[in-house]
């Protein structure tokens, strides 16, 4: 049985995460700026125009004053009243109606949260209908497509005064002790969940925060929907990674997944492993990684703590997607690697130490000092240091040449002194190996140069070979033409077959 619980303190600090500039790959919308003309910072969805005729609302009696016999009927009427939508972009339109709906929503929230016995079966379809009518809408185009989530203010939902109360009602409804999953599942179905998931793309962080908690409750209470929810989240992520690179709610969805992973039963199902390898790891390639990296790293570490055997997949995956040009992302990757190493099992460490420390050596020699610094900080971590010490024979030769070279070349003094500390640590760990490596450094360097020379000679040889071959081919073609012309005169003549020239470097193939 899988259990799920949101971690008491959320795994990550940044709870607000906004949209990302995107190049839409699939639907091909020109994401050119559509704002500037209007300076308003809120928007409303396209849904309002679909309500053909505006109904005039009249206030109903208060729920708390209603006799018990009429309570459910009144509750139901209030729910129906709350299905009326209002235009929030026109802030003075129908103020009276807006106030009536707000009061009704407040009462509904209050009633569901405090009184017992309100939620009876006939109310379920009405409640779900009211929620659907209010929250499900096509999100409007982003006002600011060149939006920088770390700099710009997000566009807020104009109808939030009502929307918030609807979400609050939904949440109280799900959390109510009277809530019966067996009744709710008839109305909260796959289609409902799919629409709910699409709302996570909202630019308004307040809305995403509510959605996160609500989806978590739905996942917790409606067991039949769990697999479907996971699959749809997968689809959203895959679309985000490979198609649009745009989805505002990645961080929130990951936060929910963090708690879902926490509840996975052991041994891990193939489906869950596939999710790790094909979705979570590729999520690291996103341009907007910084917005959800904390949540992502949390999920990855959760997986490892569940089942140590996935460690190798994870590390090799990260190495595959290691950032080539973005140093900011490189620092994030290094941070994640440290989180992973913090909980790695020594037996797993041995499996990945070689490729991992090659990458770490490359980071140490980065001209960007923050990257080099972040990598060198690993030596300040006691647990990592103990792993390095145990495997000194393997690791030191991998990083020695880099450390030695960078200690002499790096422009940044902090890096140089950090490297001296690392070298000192190694010297204390295994002085014999250290001395050997120091002695052979120059020889190794010469060997590397020689290999490099041989490699380029080999290529040059191949190019020359190709050039000669092309010459021969043209020559052969010419000969053949000539022969054909001549053969008109003397038809019995044999065609001359041109042989390929000998391969140039078979004899000279360098050995190493």
């Amino acid at each position: 049985m899988e259990t799920t619980k949101l971690p008491p303190s959320s795994p990550s600090s940044p709870t607000t995460s906004f949209s990302v500039p995107s190049a839409e790959k699939v639907d091909g919308f020109p994401r050119r700026s559509m704002r500037r003309a209007r300076q308003r910072r809120s928007h409303s969805s396209s849904q309002f125009r679909y309500q053909s005729s505006q109904v005039e609302l009249t206030p109903l009696p208060l729920l708390k004053d209603a006799p018990v016999a009429e309570l459910h009927d009144l509750f139901c009427k209030k729910l129906q009243q709350c299905c009326v939508l209002f235009d929030f972009l026109d802030c003075v339109a129908d103020l009276k109606g807006k106030e009536i709906k707000r009061a009704a929503l407040n009462e509904l929230v209050e009633s569901v949260a405090t009184s017992r016995g309100v939620l009876i079966e006939p109310l379920y379809p009405e409640a779900i209908k009211m929620i659907s009518v209010n929250i499900f809408r096509t999100l409007p185009p982003s006002e600011n497509p060149e939006f920088d989530p770390e700099e710009d203010e997000p566009t807020l939902e104009a109808s939030w005064p009502h929307l918030q109360l609807v979400y609050e009602f939904f949440l109280r409804f799900l959390e109510s002790p009277d809530f019966q999953p067996s009744m709710a599942k008839r109305y909260i179905d796959q289609k409902f969940v799919l629409q709910l998931l699409e709302l996570f793309d909202s630019e308004d962080p307040r809305e995403r925060e509510y959605l996160k908690t609500i989806l978590h409750r739905v996942y917790g209470k409606l067991l039949g929907l769990r697999a479907y929810i996971r699959k749809q989240i997968n689809n959203i992520f895959l679309r985000f990674i490979y198609e649009t690179e745009h989805f505002n709610g990645v961080a929130e969805l990951l936060e929910i997944l963090g708690s879902i992973i926490n509840g996975f039963a052991l041994p891990l199902k193939a489906e869950h492993k596939q999710f790790l390898v094909r979705v979570l790891i590729p999520l690291h390639t996103a341009k907007s990684l910084s917005i959800f990296h904390a949540q992502l790293a949390y999920c990855v570490v959760q997986f490892m703590e569940k089942d140590a055997t996935v460690t190798e997949f994870i590390i090799r995956g990260l190495l595959k997607y290691w950032p080539k040009t973005c140093t900011q992302k490189e620092v994030m990757f290094l941070g994640e690697i440290e989180e992973i190493l913090d909980v790695i099992e020594p037996s797993q460490f041995i499996r990945i130490q070689e490729p991992l420390f090659k990458q770490i050596a490359a980071c140490i020699s980065s001209p960007h000092f923050q990257v080099a610094e972040r990598a060198l900080y690993f030596w300040n971590n006691e647990y990592i240091l103990s792993l390095i010490e145990e495997n000194c024979q393997v690791i030191l030769p991998l990083v020695f040449a880099t450390l030695y070279r960078v200690s002499k070349e790096h422009w940044n003094q902090t890096i140089v002194s950090l490297i001296y500390n690392v070298l000192k640590t190694f010297m204390e760990m295994n002085s014999k190996l250290f001395d050997d490596l120091t002695a052979s450094y120059k020889v190794e360097k010469q060997k590397e140069l020689k290999r490099e020379r041989e490699r380029s000679e080999l290529w040059r040889g191949l190019e020359e070979y190709e050039e000669r071959r092309m010459q021969m081919l043209t020559e052969a073609a010419r000969n053949q033409r000539n022969l054909q012309e001549r053969s008109l005169a003397s038809p019995r003549r044999q065609l001359f077959v041109q042989k390929l020239p000998p391969l140039p470097c078979k004899a000279a193939a360098p050995s190493f």
Binding site: K25, D27, R36, R455, L462
Partner: protein, 586 residues
């Protein structure tokens, strides 16, 4: 000889790139691998490249992309069309990777080499591959399969054809939205290769299903397919088979779908023909022009001219006047600047369709309103399309309002706006005529020469050259040359340099006489300027105008000055003087 050839390939592969020696050729970085791959195509080592790849030496997407691309050109290298099927296994694997660009490239290569398969090979090797991809576990392979149906369908037997249709049907209702999107995007292409009876029996139901998919990203792709499908069907079937879906798309609750309809409107209009256009598309277009989302209105506004042009001629004018023009009038005062500027870029085109009288009565007020719009982009779009109106009513009708608009743009605080209007100056000058220009615009053109942004001064210089080409050397001599030369005495050295830049640009258009008699003395005098930048620009100018001068002036006047500059104390001046001397000698 292809046998011989294959032996050579094997030989090449085994001798040079055996499994254990690849380290000699490849370092660990992607760039070298990429280079290697390009070389691969030259040295024919196809087998080993596949071999190496299989052992995941190449797991970089960049490398896989290059591999996928190169393999599409390998037919001759594996021994010609009869061996082309050897290329299928590696491309099949590449068509299943996650990275979209790699997969797309692999599909592209597969489509390319499918043409090189004989009909038999197509059924024996290619079609099974398509089937495998279509029933793959992971969405990537099924996505790739969608792009391969249409290339093999026309060339296989009818049993296989039936299987292919079945596979396509299955993928259209796939569980994964990614696959349904891929299928929807290939629906039109697939419909085109199908026999007419199957278009009706198969494609229409798939089209209807995709167009009402739960995800808007799928629905909008069905709109694209709608164009091809409508073209394939006889007119009498359109109403029942296509129109219900199209009507529904035009009113979809997702703005993305409506946007797509607006964006494809001209194509849809052509595909469904004039009767349906009159009855259905006109009201639909009106709705799109009034849509609640600016994106949709802007896309529709962009199509106003094309839509009107393609209306059936018999009652085109009536439709425009009663149905379209009222919406257009509202868009002129839209709240969103992108909508207005999209409209401004096409609205002038309506004048040719509506003729002189209607233009003066109905369109002219709109043009004038847009010329006064608060957003510079709107004004610029109107000005840049003046030629359409010029043909119908003559530009004089507009000139009174045009002038303030131009002056305002010319002085706009944003230099990019000023730059844009400068670029239209030669065009405007041509349409407004030399008199109007001298009277109203000449001052502006000269004022740009002393703009504080270099890009504007540079554009102004270039503008002068184009004006001289239009109005002739004599006009130049009378109106602009004196003013340009006057700036040579300006206290600001940037302005003095502008004189030199103008001379560089104008000398050729003005001809030898004006250059020698009026410009050269000024340039020579400036060689004594206090500012080194001016002096080395003198050297550059002399080099530039040298070819226009006669040899006498070159020898007696230019050469001594350059020789003097070549001994200047500033090293840049020296450098450019020497450059000029050697350039003029040759």
């Amino acid at each position: 000889s292809s046998q011989q050839h294959q032996e050579a390939v094997h030989h090449c592969a085994s001798s040079r790139c055996g499994e254990d020696s690849h380290g000699k050729l490849y370092k660990n970085d992607t760039e070298t691998q990429l280079y290697s791959l390009k070389m691969y195509s030259i040295i024919h080592i196809f087998y080993s490249s596949y071999h190496l790849w299989k052992y995941t030496i190449y797991d970089e997407d960049e490398v896989l992309l290059a591999l996928a691309e190169q393999l599409g050109n390998f037919t001759m290298l594996v021994g010609g069309p009869e061996y082309v099927h050897c290329l299928l296994p590696p491309l099949e694997s590449l068509a299943t990777v996650e990275e979209t660009v790699v997969r797309d490239k692999a599909v592209e290569s597969l489509r390319k080499i499918s043409q090189e398969h004989s009909p038999v090979d197509l059924e024996v090797h290619f079609e099974p591959l398509v089937k495998r991809l279509a029933s793959g576990d992971w969405f990537t392979s099924r996505t790739s399969a969608c792009g391969l149906f249409s290339v093999c369908y026309p060339r296989v037997s009818s049993t296989v054809k039936a299987e292919i249709r079945q596979h396509f049907r299955t993928l259209c209702s796939d569980d994964t939205p990614m696959v349904r999107r891929a299928a929807a995007s290939k629906l039109g292409e697939f419909a085109k290769v199908l026999e007419p009876e199957y278009v009706k029996s198969d494609i229409i139901s798939l089209f209807t299903a995709l167009a009402s998919d739960e995800q808007d990203s799928v629905r909008l792709l069905a709109v694209e397919a709608c164009v091809s499908i409508a073209t394939l069907l006889p007119q009498e079937d359109l109403e029942t088979l296509v129109m219900p879906t199209l009507r529904q798309a035009a009113e979809d609750k997702s703005w993305r779908v409506r946007y797509m309809v607006a964006d494809k409107f001209s194509e849809l209009q052509k595909a469904v023909g004039s009767e349906i256009t009159k009855n259905d598309l006109v009201p639909a277009f009106q709705n799109l022009l009034k849509d609640c989302e600016a994106e949709v209105r802007a896309a529709a506004a962009n199509k106003v001219k094309e839509f009107c042009e393609n209306l059936p001629e018999d009652n085109r004018e009536q439709i425009i006047m009663t149905h379209i023009l009222p919406c257009v009038k509202e868009l002129v005062s839209d709240t969103n600047q992108h909508v207005k500027s999209a409209l401004a870029s096409v609205i002038m085109g309506l004048s040719t369709i509506l003729g002189k009288d209607n233009t003066i009565e109905h369109l002219l007020p709109l043009f004038l309103a847009q010329l006064k719009d608060e957003c510079p982009e709107v004004r610029l779009n109107i000005i840049s399309n003046l030629d359409c109106v010029n043909e119908v009513i003559g530009i004089r009708q507009l000139s009174q309002s045009l002038l303030p608009a131009i002056v305002e743009l010319a002085e706009d605080a944003k230099w990019r706006v000023r730059l844009a209007i400068i670029e239209y100056m030669p065009l405007l000058a041509g349409q407004l005529g030399v008199e109007f220009f001298d009277e109203k615009l000449n001052t502006l053109c000269m004022a740009w020469l002393i703009d504080h942004v270099y890009a504007i001064r540079e554009a102004a210089t270039c503008n002068l050259m184009k004006l001289v080409e239009k109005f002739g050397a004599e006009w130049a001599q009378n109106t602009i040359v004196p003013k340009v030369l006057g700036m040579a005495n300006d206290p600001n050295y940037l302005h003095r340099m502008t004189t030199l830049f103008c001379i560089n640009a104008l000398s050729e258009a003005c001809g030898q006489e004006i250059t020698t008699k009026q410009m050269l003395p000024v340039v020579l005098k400036m060689s004594n300027d206090q500012v080194a930048n001016v002096r080395f620009n003198v050297a550059k100018s002399l080099q530039k105008i040298g070819p226009v001068l006669d040899s006498n002036a070159l020898q007696t006047e230019v050469k001594p000055v350059l020789e003097k500059l070549a001994t200047d104390s500033d090293m840049d001046v020296k450098y450019f003087a020497q450059e000029a001397i050697s350039a003029l000698q040759s």
